[in-house]
């Protein structure tokens, strides 16, 4: 047994048709859920033999079984007409036991893959000198391997934990951005391509971006993508990661130099941590194939954005005393999170100071005030913006 080793997390993302970037990732997970159902059919594990032979005249005459000899049987009700094995069955492995009443057994001689035309089957017995009556032959029970049918398209989820290490939020992490500034309507539906490890994908769509920040800590973000279509493997592609710019000094957002703006209007003097989340819900358009050679239906022809919601939560020292009494429409808040790195002067590369700004201008959806045994008043507030 051998595990495939990777040093670091080789992840590359790009907006379709554009240059991409290697990601400073902590971890990557691709998971896939498959909705499969069996569809059992009437009497699909009931074996009925109407003739021992290849189905010439439907006259049932039982052989006197001899151990180890193969017997061809025609399947179906007594007197016929013959009936093929159920198509709900994927496979009947060779040596599958068929149990008849009165302690009698036969065994399938060969693997059978039912295709709707299996009127005949071959059996053998382990013991000899016995017969199977016509009535017993209608009551054979066996346990096959059943088919599964896909009920919905296959969809994967790519989850990435990474560090925001640039001043510009890349297009593939920017839910509200536009790949083509001239596009109308101005809603980005471009797909994202890339690879992680040696596995490439070409149909991914960003669903959510989250990060949080607190004093004296770096900010780690997480993003989630919907993934469709095939993965392909290229054993050499991950080598590109190890020669990328990520192995030079990186600038990472840090709570020490980052700021929150807009909290004082809420009665909070000193925010100590915040979290930010932007999520979009999407609709998928699949179309039916029109003939047997049509590959439509495997991947969506359109992945559109339905609504985008921004949530921002701040924890701090206090809150406005009007915590409950604001009236029927609540109160509004306009918050900004300004991310900065530590801005060391004695490093030349990637020492930028200001990195990026995230804003949330919406309604206050929850507040809390608490005091614990350590004796400090803590306030927290959550704001939600319906962006789209």
């Amino acid at each position: 047994m051998k595990f495939l080793p990777y040093e670091d997390v080789p992840l590359y993302l790009a907006v379709d048709g554009q240059d991409g970037e290697h990601i400073f990732a902590e971890s990557v997970t691709l998971s896939i859920d498959n909705n499969l159902n069996t569809n059992r059919q009437v009497d699909d594990n009931l074996l009925q033999i109407c003739e021992f032979g290849s189905g010439i005249n439907m006259q049932y005459v039982s052989p006197t079984f001899v151990s180890g000899v193969d017997y061809t049987a025609t399947l179906g009700p007594t007197d016929g007409p013959p009936r093929p094995i159920a198509t709900s069955i994927h496979k009947i492995p060779a040596n599958t036991k068929v149990t008849f009443p009165n302690g009698k057994h036969l065994y399938f001689s060969n693997d059978v893959y039912p295709d709707g035309q299996d009127y005949l089957a071959s059996f053998y017995a382990l013991s000899g000198n016995w017969q199977l009556s016509a009535q017993e032959a209608q009551q054979g029970y066996f346990e096959p391997l059943f088919n599964y049918a896909q009920t919905q398209p296959v969809q994967g989820t790519l989850s990435v934990n990474f560090y925001l290490n640039t001043g510009n939020l890349q297009g593939f992490f920017n839910i509200t951005g536009l790949s083509d500034l001239t596009a109308y309507p101005p809603i980005d539906e471009e797909k994202i391509t890339g690879y992680f490890g040696d596995f490439t994908f070409s149909d991914a769509y960003l669903n959510s971006l989250n990060f949080s920040l607190s004093p004296n800590s770096i900010s780690q973000a997480s993003a989630s993508f919907m993934v469709f279509g095939k993965l392909s493997k290229d054993e050499n592609i991950s080598q590109n990661y190890y020669s990328s710019d990520l192995y030079q000094q990186q600038s990472i957002a840090h709570g020490e130099a980052s700021k929150i703006v807009g909290h004082t209007d809420l009665g909070m003097n000193h925010p100590i941590s915040f979290s930010y989340s932007i999520q979009t819900s999407r609709s998928l358009r699949y179309v039916c194939p029109i003939d047997k050679n049509d590959s439509a239906g495997l991947t969506p022809v359109r992945v559109s954005k339905d609504s985008t919601i921004i949530d921002m939560s701040i924890d701090g020292d206090n809150l406005s005393p009007d915590i409950i009494s604001e009236g029927p429409n609540g109160s509004r808040a306009n918050l900004k999170a300004i991310l900065s790195d530590l801005n060391y002067d004695n490093f030349e590369d990637n020492s930028n100071g200001f990195m990026h700004e995230f804003s949330c201008n919406g309604a206050v959806v929850s507040k809390s005030l608490s005091v614990n045994s350590q004796g400090y008043l803590n306030g927290s507030i959550s704001v939600r913006q319906q962006y789209m």
């Binding site: 569809n39 059992r40 009497d43 025609t74 009700p77 013959p82 198509t87 049918a149 609709s283 998928l284």
Partner: protein, 383 residues
Amino acid sequence: MNISRTSTNSFNLRPSFGSEASFSSINDEVTFGDNHSQRMTKGINALTMSLNLSFQGLTNDESNDAISFLQSQFDYEAQNYSNEGRFTNKRVGVFDYQPFYPYKQHKFMCSDFTHNKTSFNNNNVSARFLCVGSSILDSVEASLGHNETISSKLTFPTSLPSSNSNQSTIISNSDNFCSLNDNNFIYNSIDYRVAKVQSSVSIQEDQQISINLKAPFGFPDGVSTSQHTNLRHSIYIDDPNDCSFYPYAPKHKGSTIPYRCFDFRPNQSISIQNSPKFRDANLTDFYKKFNKYGFNPNLTNLQLSFNGRSDLEAKRILLFLESHLGYKKFCFHAQSGYGGHVQPNSSPSKSKLSYFYCPQWSHSFTYLNNHSISATFIECLPN
């Protein structure tokens, strides 16, 4: 909605999964005593097809185009008398449409449609299309045995031994152009041995060709009939030659059945409703006498579902039902327990074989290689 009239005569949007095709036949029926009956389709256009289609996730432009097109079929036009001697402004327009697998392109009219705008630039349109101008005369399907007009006659000069591997053999064709696709089947006329075609071949009449077959139980020399000719035709289904059926009269008790057998198994839970016929004499409203009806008192109606079927199996089921035109009888295996019994005291009024006709069925394309078909089977007597 800003209707933009276009010169196109076709509707090009592909439907989403979950769309449905429904078929119904309009029959005349005469019922005699003892539940004997005869039925016949009312006319050559009496087997109708309708599509319930959904188009999900359309952009504003796509939905505008779709609704404009569908609305414009009913637009008022100024009166115009053509050189052919008729008014050209009266009829509702029909258009070409290619439905989902396994149906062929046909002419349709749209009788009702709905537009839902779910979010900015995201629209759902659902529509009901009626197929126009289809005829049962377009159904060309051999019934039982060899039909010199539309079947081909294949001769195997040598027998094939039983083997699970491919075998190559020479066959000749003496009737009609035969076109065999891979995964078609050739059936032996003497028993139920079959040979599965491994690679597509075409055999002209009076020609011979090498063919690769798989015959796990062997295949005897001699003559076999095949439905797979270029004359085979379906009203609604594309490429009927993908489907193979046992072409001979089904064998039963040393003889044969004069109808084809519906060999597909419905889903596991069938509800078989029994409402036997009887005679009751209402002498007063509180005194009744119940008497037996006579022969054949208990004919059943079945509502059957065939879910989770592969592309090919769904096509075979649909072609079988279509080729019976909504009124022709076929033999169907009821579930075990209803199929007669070898015990001598089994009910004589319930024969071991059941015959049905199917006047309506519907097909839903659930997902790739996953189809659902529901059908109404009405039991009838064989003669």
